[in-house]
Symmetry: D3
Subunit: 291 residues, 6 copies
């Protein structure tokens, strides 16, 4: 059973609207290697787990729980990047179109389907697809697949990082790159308990996270080697997530309390998009004008 408090796992740093960045970030939310897939893949792998070695199940499930908060964080980031990217009010008297930004570099869906907000699609507008989620029903296959998933997640984030200098986008990417690193460590360490020695190949990509200015503070807190514990009962995850980090950057793996959380940004109403548009109750019929 799942519980919730209304806080984001990391801060949304304000900056200008950036519809093209929002489009690119959809890959991280609804793409083949995005957060929706990590969430659902680890959900199925932990729910379907067999046998008594529950320390592996607890590891996968522990990351699954955090991923639900990652989905929420990327949704909020995309919303921030889109918000106010069209006209903020209804069309002015000149009759000029208010949503021309919808037909430029952005994703048309963002303005037609929703009201400048996130969607379960990737950066090309392709909907998230359940065939991407894989529970192989075999521990080694699952751990290797999960390692590829986290590694590719990091890789794609490091590429999107180069597509815009927008601070809203980069802060979220930086946080997630550090956490993906921790999750790479988790799956790599689990394979280490089964006999694998990784040498210098991890993490993927072969970067120094401290070179990303936004990553530094997270690295200083050691968040690349920490697993947040969102369990309200006991878990065996610490039996695996401990000792020397399997990545080339070293460090020691340990469990920690979750971040204290950050407020969810408030999204203003967008009348031009008819959002959310609460009908007036118990009054005369309401006639909203366009202009």
């Amino acid at each position: 059973m799942f519980y919730y408090q209304e806080k984001l796992i990391n801060e949304i740093v304000p900056d200008r609207p950036d519809p093209a960045a929002a489009k690119a970030l959809q890959e991280i939310l609804g793409g083949h290697f995005g957060e929706m897939r990590t969430m659902m893949q680890f959900s199925f792998q932990s729910a379907n787990f067999r046998g008594p070695a529950t320390e592996y199940r607890d590891l996968i499930r522990g990351i699954f729980i955090e991923e639900i908060s990652h989905v929420e964080l990327v949704q909020a980031t995309i919303n921030q990047l889109l918000d106010d990217s069209g006209s903020t009010s209804k069309a002015d008297n000149t009759g000029d179109p208010a949503l021309t930004s919808a037909v430029g570099d952005g994703l048309t869906y963002h303005y037609i389907i929703g009201a400048q907000s996130s969607l379960p699609v990737d950066s090309s507008g392709n909907p998230w697809n359940g065939s991407w989620v894989y529970d192989h029903g075999n521990l080694v296959s699952n751990l290797l697949d999960n390692l590829v998933l986290e590694a590719t997640g990091t890789l794609q984030k490091s590429r999107i990082y180069e597509m815009s200098a927008n601070k809203t986008m980069r802060e979220t990417l930086a946080f997630l790159m550090v956490r993906d690193n921790a999750h790479q460590n988790a799956y790599a360490k689990a394979l280490e308990t089964l006999g694998v020695k990784w040498g210098n190949v991890l993490p993927v990509p072969d970067y120094d996270l401290k070179q990303y200015p936004e990553c530094r503070k997270y690295i200083e807190r050691g968040w690349n080697n920490i697993q947040f514990n969102f369990r309200m009962d006991s878990t065996r995850i610490g039996e695996i997530f401990q000792g020397t980090s399997p990545g080339r950057h070293g460090g020691t793996l340990s469990m920690a309390e979750p971040p204290m959380g950050f407020p969810v940004p408030v999204l203003a109403e967008r009348p031009i998009e008819h959002s959310p548009e609460i009908p007036t109750v118990g009054k005369d019929p309401l006639f909203t004008s366009r202009v």
Copy 2:
């Protein structure tokens, strides 16, 4: 941010394996109107919510959180229905195939992709699709869409109920039909606050849940008019979910603590499916034989 304790929101009642029932239940998990969609649809609608009327956002989010536990419950139910449906051990000496049940009325995927366990697909094997999730960016559209979603969820469950007398399947369906009823009430009530009077049209379908033997105990507890609260902080959901139930069966809406939870069934190892198959560490190479 999301938290977890390892308990199911309802009990898994044991019965014989039933691969055909497991196949039908996939519609409830990964289908167009299944629990994965309710979970993701309410996730996007609450994350993307605009404006100050946060009682509506809290209502949608409150149901979203419960739906994560519904996904977990249906995964566990499908697993129970599949488990032990092939041979439980490696093929016997006669050489007879161990997994012929995979090529009968069941879903072939259940035995090839995973090891007799749940998948993010529907009853015909079609993968879950992100285009089904809809945040219209408009409150009335969202509430009506969500009402259709919950109503259809109930409707499909009541049809699948007639496909097998298997107790594992029917108990989970009965619980979810009662909860879908509560969620229909939630969205119908939200529309009532905006001026709609429902008369006798709800709930859909036009049934008396007490006629389903497994539903009776839940109705007696009033769970068709209760919203479980999985929030660890405050929520405005009670501003809407209160007063007379909008459905024809009457009653009073109120908030309640979540169920106490039930243990997640332990799934035995399935060597014939190579699951989970923990490689031996620090020993001589292991040579597992088939027979």
Copy 3:
């Protein structure tokens, strides 16, 4: 603009329910080479037509209009094959499941999504897909593509014909095979006006329709060489659809009035599927029992 009268273009011959035949027939409705595609492909090709040679546009459009009635005919045929295939009333007192036929050779969707009725999917349950529709924007490509489409439609129908002796299924297939033959003739003749001589290769497949007992009466009426005219204004289709038939069976092409039409079968209510379930208005709340 389109007009309608509630008649089917051909008769539904009653026979026993046959869910497996209904499943196979879905290929003819929602498959890659089914009636939904012919309808939409000819719709796009005629709407997008360029230039003054409107006799070709009128030919394509004329067949498009008939295809809308073909879609309606196959929907009705599938409905007839499914109807009464589960229990016709609510579950009896023994508590035995009423819809076990849903989990046998049939398509599970037919009983879960709808109430024993047709769907826009193919025989494997895959949804109809817009990428199958093609308007090449070039006349020769379009005519050749349409010829392949009609030929394959016939071919698939002749194969499904061999899958069941059910009269409901075979009568509809026989009518459509004769009409597909006429439409093959139409596209082949259009190519003939551009210079192609077909020799003996048409129609595909290389059959004698009179060997199918149900086809004989249609052949005797000459329906393999007739194009029904559903236009309420004038059309140039007859400039092409005239003269010697391009197929090996010979005959003369000519226009004709549409068939007189046949009544749409009435589908009884299916309470066990909650269909259609009209809520009672202005009365006390209704409590429908399952038993």
Copy 4:
């Protein structure tokens, strides 16, 4: 059975080519809530209808028939917006590319697959998908779903309206917004006959159509409260579509004859796209040059 006369249900107002507007309009044609879905959803719901309350079936079918003409209208509108958007003749002697507009803000498909013409895809190029069509097999579910469908159709059109001032695009959107309003009224009224009172929540969105200049003439004709009758035989639709409009704007529902219809615009040949390109018959081989 379906009949046709070659007239559009509304006028195509000429304006400049606008490939970006054509791209956005594809959502209205081939999107999740576009005209192809309304057409097919109402087709399946009316064909699959059960029981004697045929006034509801006739209502759904009546709207279905009009939707076929809506599909035709949007196809023609997209064609008008695309036409002449590349070079109108073969590439000039400078060798400059003639179709660079294809690789800008427009949809590449519009120039590669077809010859500057409409397609069964949405605004992001995703093909129309049969899983979007839903016949729940239950009257209340169907009516609510259809209401959401018409409401979202209007909502999306009002957003696309803000994306360009192009008159071709805006006139078609304005007409369809008024008709969607009428169809919202139809489904809302049908639910009213079952006991629902809508208060002020309809129509969605909460707009005054008269604020859209192009809508005014249609509102003055009362087309938001009229159902056009395309039946050539009798229909019971008027038993439902009568009396006070269920929307907040009031008025009285009534049936009417269809619009008189408008000519389908003639699309010129596009040699650079090889469209339609009629091969010369009975002459020497033709060698068309590019320049």
Copy 5:
């Protein structure tokens, strides 16, 4: 550039028709982890390779080339399993349907789309999807992904092996399990050159191939540690594929000439499926009868 000789890479062992086995085998051909994906994934990864370390590109390309022959082998195996599974001639005089096997445990597509022959779909009939193919653009990610791909291929084959005792099916699976083992070794060894030590975790699954009777002869030939060389020019693959095998079963990796090849089975005509049906040229029109 690619060259061909008409030989299969392994023998097709004859046995009875087995449509259910053919259906399961489609997963190996057109599934998420089937041969079509391995072929295309390695095609893209080798074509897109960057930088001077071409020994890795040659390794990936070398396996790519072999996979084209694997696709051909699985196509031939499915064809053998399907062939003669319906009636071998046209329907007899009793009028009994000839293709009832199409509506039982098999895949309906196999009889409707083609004439008892293979298709680019998986075991549930879902079409092969390009989103499964992944070139991460990063060597470590690619090698790990390819290792998961080969491991899962083996795992699924070992499960399908248990679904039927059919010799045609089992021989092909046995050959491919041994080859997948060799390809696991190739990717694991490539990672070893980058520093990874695998301990006992490979191959996946943790089996002894010699326990599968059909595998023994291939193991005795050492084919689990051999890479066939289909290059007609030089290749650097041997710089990686050499030395001790990275799997727990040991042995030494080495290059070898391809197998000598086996004849492609001849498929008889199937008149009842109209296949291939050569029209008669230069004769009187042909009237093929059904009976």
Copy 6:
């Protein structure tokens, strides 16, 4: 069985990077009528061929083999068009984003999924789909379908040719247009052997290839009437591919040796995309910096 030598079937002519051209060319690689489909369609049709008329099987197979090299050529062309389209080195000290070209007219996938390289998707980013491949199991249907496929391939290439003057793009298109012409001739000739006379309708489109400057040299070599033979054993293809060309441009069909082949361009490393990034072995941990 398939063999390979590392040469491209045609030359890659260098020019500037052109991400928009690369996006358009994806239609030719992974689109509905692209080279991946031709390759797989002819693979299935030749593998599934029935009966003794193997000259037709050999024709289809011969074209299949060449298509594998076409896929390779288009992959290399897209890579050339993308390469160096972002910054070639890591972000400069100004902190300006290096991959802004990814969020302009190009395909975002090209920079996020891979490192500026080709993908199995079409020009709108939709993944290649197995439902497009068709083996009708009937010779005439297959030959007609293949003719449409080759004709549409040419048609689309001639349209993309007009989208950019980039030499890299145009040279590959020109070569493939000539080869598609040869393949149209092959399928048209095969139908001619069955009795069809084509008159002037072929090839599609109705162009004179010599008007495309890049095509002239290929036409002068007669490559529009030549079938390259990639078979290492004997083939009956010459029994069909001989005599007068069925197209309006005349000429004589004949077999020929394959082109001598051209070197595959070397793609430089792209550190900013982490490609390919070989981890250092046996050294101190590597810390790559971003700047």
